[in-house]
């Protein structure tokens, strides 16, 4: 199953993400979820970024809305537009979860 998971919050609800099988998983950082891709809490990357075999995406407009630039995004994360999100949803992921 190719599963797309939308993370819209900056709080750490990693526990559910940790349990989901990594293979084929896509994680979409949207809204306040984008902080996971740019903030280094206590000097460390977000725990959410540590999963193997996962594709990460962050919505450019949500990063820029919050005062960050896309160049600040963690290198593991792909910067995407709404157009990209629609295409990824339709072509790359069969099922979607909004956590």
């Amino acid at each position: 199953m190719r599963l797309g998971v939308f993370v819209s919050d900056c709080q750490k609800n990693d526990s559910m993400l940790e349990r989901l099988n990594g293979e084929g998983l896509g994680i979409f950082f949207v809204e306040n979820g984008v902080y996971h891709a740019v903030i280094h809490e206590n000097g460390r990357d977000s725990g959410v970024l540590q999963k193997k075999g996962v594709n990460y995406y962050a919505l450019a407009s949500d990063i820029q809305t919050r005062g960050f630039t896309t160049s600040e995004i963690d290198s593991r994360v792909n910067v995407v537009t709404y157009e990209d999100v629609v295409d990824l949803m339709m072509n790359d992921y069969e099922k979607l979860i909004w956590l």
Partner: protein
């Protein structure tokens, strides 16, 4: 004799309207003496993930057609409202001082005031009332 209300903003921007409501309620203090026989002095403190509100160059207008939280904060600074930002949380989230909003382009005389949490706590003791957003 004036009363003071401390508005504590503990949530990040753009999740709910909470931080903006804190700022608009703080602004409303300037006209509160319409209703009562004394003035009400607002103080705002950003703590916890609330310090994320203070990052400059927010572009919500461009992407979502809504005035940014940054613009609200600038308006407050230009109105000489005292606004504290918790140093420990800026450090925790690795937000450097040069990223913080200022309103010098609007002629503001004051900046966001970065202080230790102990200073926020002193303000909590000093104020007459507290509203935690």
């Amino acid at each position: 004799m004036a009363k003071s209300i401390l508005f504590v903003i503990s949530r990040p921007p753009y999740k709910s309207e909470n931080p903006k409501l804190a700022i608009t309620h703080a602004m409303a203090c300037f006209v509160a003496d319409m209703h009562i026989d004394e003035e009400v002095e607002p103080v705002v403190a950003f703590v916890g993930d609330g310090v994320l509100n203070c990052i400059k160059n927010q572009r919500s207008q461009e992407f979502y057609g809504i005035i940014s939280t940054e613009q609200h904060i600038k308006n407050q600074l230009a109105s000489d409202m005292r606004m504290l930002v918790c140093k420990e949380d800026l450090y925790r989230l690795d937000i450097k001082p040069e990223r913080l909003i200022n309103a010098r382009d609007m002629g503001a005389d004051i900046d966001l005031n970065v202080v230790g949490f102990n200073e926020v706590q002193k303000e909590m003791e000093r104020c007459d009332q507290m509203m935690w957003f």
